[in-house]
Amino acid sequence: MSALLELSGVSRRFGGLTAVAKVDLSVEPGEVIGLIGPNGAGKTTLVNVITGVHRASEGTVRFDGQDVTTLKPYQAARRGIARTFQIVQPFPEMTVAENVAAAAMFAGAARHGREANDVAHEHLGFVGLAEMADTRAASLTLAMRKRLELAKGLAMRPKLLLLDEVNAGLNATEVDHALSLIRGIASRGITILIIEHLMKVVLSLCTRIVVLHHGELIASGTPQSIVRDPRVIQAYLGRRYATAESAAHG
């Protein structure tokens, strides 16, 4: 099977700072990849390079068999790359349904307003926001806005969904709900790349984990192998986490 997303030798520099350095990464269709690493490791920058917000200083990004290195965000969106933001970005003065309809209209190939509206209500039902459809997006709680972001992402009919810290700021119950939603999305066959700090989420969700440190990809493997990798423990997890893990597995 050919890779859905393929980064080869991707670097991104801001002046003298190298935020992402020579990253090679290949994502197969149907994978749920966890992207972890300390703050400032370059995770969001990497997502920005994939979606075209920043252009790669070096290297190429291939998506679905085509070179997408130089595409603009709106073009990437139309090809099937959707992303949610770490800091949620709704259209505040529009209703919840209009927010999702916009995604269906401009990236999801809805032909007219009514079709976009139908699609919007379907996805709002899936994320559990059906009753909020006619509310202004600005009046939603943080947890609801995160779910709105998911619905918007889905309405774009993506092949690849990039989730940037969708669980940050949520309480335990809300995280569990988000987790089951993400599982539901993955079971529809959408490939997911998720940036996440909560190890519980990453370990229970992902088929593979890649670790970024100082802009470099230092490890890639199954969740079990990653938590035992000495480089990952040193760079990110910390020794206390490792001892607790080995004690638990025993």
């Binding site: 917000v53 965000p73 709106y74 933001f85 709704p90 259209f91 529009m94 916009a102 401009f106």
Partner: protein, 307 residues
């Protein structure tokens, strides 16, 4: 949308009856209201829908006025001269938009403000074509009476206002209008959802330019004499914005109502406070914007919300 269109139809039909019972003064005032209505509605495309505070109206107005005037001077029939003014404004807005719309917020506002000044200097300098600082006289039709002239320009301006309004209504309910609303609320998020933001913004800017260009050309033919400080006056930009804010930026009738309200106030104040009229007018604008930041239409909405 159908309700707005119907209401607008009745409104414009009533306005069209004005010449039946009005003297030259009311016709002149009516033509002026319609002209500023066009300026305000056109600004609504870029300023209201896309949320880009453009001060380029004066540039489009002057450009249209001079294009139309020079074309007429060269012997082009009047209607064709107006059309060429619209085309010129369209091309100019497209090129200018591609350059300026990379800027956001205040930077865009300031850049758009300078454009009229640049054009004014250019017109001043190219004396052979435009008459420079001497101004430009337009041909006066020989066999026309004052009343028939006044009625002709009134109906011309009315026709332009109807077309501008129809365009605004159509855009508001189209894919373009939806995309512009997304851009106005969060441009990066719109981009990420697949909205071609650059193209949409340029389209809004072109729409905001073309109708103003034609209005400028009609104005030039109407007053028979133009000079650079008159048609490149920054007040054309500022008044259009104030009118939209007065009427309410969100609604389709806002710009037109704002124009009528503003000009009535101006007329009233000017008559009664000859010495200090600009001061009084300024004060009224400040008070209106302070207490009705979303325009006169917000009063009705608020009452609806309470009930």
């Amino acid at each position: 949308m159908r309700k707005s269109a119907l209401f607008a139809g009745v409104l414009f039909a009533l306005i069209a009856l004005l010449p039946l019972g009005a003297d030259a003064y009311w016709l002149r005032l009516g033509t002026t209201v319609l002209m500023y209505g066009v300026l305000a509605m056109a600004w609504n495309f870029i300023g209201g829908m896309a949320g880009y505070p453009s001060f380029a109206s004066a540039a489009f107005f002057g450009l249209g006025a001079y294009t139309g005037a020079v074309a007429q001077k060269l012997g082009v029939p009047m209607l064709l001269a107006w059309a060429s003014a619209g085309t010129m404004a369209l091309l100019f807005a497209a090129l200018l938009g591609l350059a300026l719309l990379r800027l956001r917020g205040h930077y865009f506002a300031i850049a758009s403000l300078v454009v009229a000044e640049v054009l004014r200097e250019l017109v001043n300098a190219s004396t052979d074509l435009t008459g420079g600082g001497m101004g430009l006289n337009l041909p006066v039709p020989k066999d026309a009476t004052i009343t028939s002239q006044a009625e002709f320009f009134f109906y011309s301006m009315l026709a332009l206002a109807v077309v501008t309004f129809a365009a605004m209504l159509a855009v508001k309910h189209s894919r373009l209008g939806f995309g512009l609303r997304c851009i106005q609320q969060n441009e990066s998020a719109a981009d990420m959802l697949g909205v071609n933001t650059t193209m949409y913004k340029v389209a809004a800017f072109v729409l905001s330019g073309v109708f103003v260009g034609v209005a400028g050309a009609i104005y030039a033919s109407w007053v028979h004499y133009i000079e650079p400080p008159d048609v490149f006056d920054v007040l054309y930009s500022i008044k259009a914005i104030v009118m939209v804010l007065l009427g309410g930026a969100g609604s389709v009738f806002g710009p037109l109502v704002g124009a009528a309200l503003f000009l009535s106030l101006e007329e009233l104040v000017w008559r009664n406070y000859l010495q200090v009229h600009t001061g009084v007018l300024g004060l009224m604008i400040v008070l209106l914007v302070l207490f009705m930041p979303k325009g006169v239409f917000s009063l009705r909405m608020r009452r609806k919300g309470r009930a």
